[in-house]
Amino acid sequence: MGFYNLSSAPELRKSMLNLDTTASIHSSISMKDCSVFSRVGFRGIGAEAFLNANKVPVPAKPNQSLSFQEGLVVLRLSKSEFWLMSTNNQNHEFIAALEAAAQGVENLYRLYCQHSHACFLIEGQDTGTMFAKVCGVDLSAQTFNVGDVVQTSVARISAIVTKQTQDDSDYILLFADIASVQYLWEALTDASAEFA
């Protein structure tokens, strides 16, 4: 089978989330659906060396993330699994080129995280308190620091949560199974409603 670049045709991507049917509730917590923004994942014992060779900095330990360049976040989900996410949707060429460069590299496997996961960007100072309602892991500002990654259940859906910062304000990135995106959006909107 020929090489198929999973990052191709970004203009054809569609989020599974339908915001027309979702009630918008006034809250100090704001959520943005970033599901169609480019991202790519790599796994395998050659993944770290491959990213280093392509000038992508990687966190030193599993379950950490870091920001680099303008609007790019690298998550290290295990010793040998990495995701790259564009939070401003401006880094498509970089991500597509990185994916193409991975072709034929030994001990390196691409991950289908673009099409398997939805992504929300969540901001607001009460975000940690809101998560206490839907998540068993403590994501409050005192314990959940910038650069931490937590892989757990959020509103009973398996999710990856990380905190990053841009322009002196912290935000949370949440990845979850794309099939549950509508439910999760509504569950988080509902949980946010009390923080007006």
């Binding site: 379950n63 892989q151 259940s153 999710a159 990856i160």
Partner: protein, 103 residues
């Protein structure tokens, strides 16, 4: 709530984990008998002892190994599979089939 300690993610609610069966040596599926394969896939001893098992943390897609007492259900130890498996397990490639006869 029962808590299990994931070697990668730390303590998590047991509902995030999936049982993956006993850790057993996989026989060579090319050469083993049907009985050996069935023993590997379907049968377990079911005795009271400390058992070594595969467990899966669903939220992170991470397989690891746990040692559990089958009577008390106490989880004594969890660790990364690299402690037991540090290289890829390969079986020799399948013998080539004889070419089909053309009719």
């Amino acid at each position: 709530m029962k808590i299990m300690n994931c070697p990668l993610n730390g303590p998590r609610n047991i509902s995030e984990f999936v049982y993956g069966g006993e850790v057993k040596t996989m026989p060579n599926h090319q050469t083993c008998s049907d009985k050996e394969w069935a023993e590997y896939v379907f049968y377990s001893d079911n005795t009271i002892r400390i058992i070594t098992e595969w467990w899966y943390h669903a939220a992170s897609g991470y397989w690891f190994i746990a040692e559990r007492h089958t009577a008390s259900d106490e989880i004594l130890k969890t660790y990364d599979p690299s402690e037991l498996f540090n290289q890829r397990v390969d079986f020799e490639s399948k013998p080539e089939l004889a070419e089909e006869q053309s009719v």
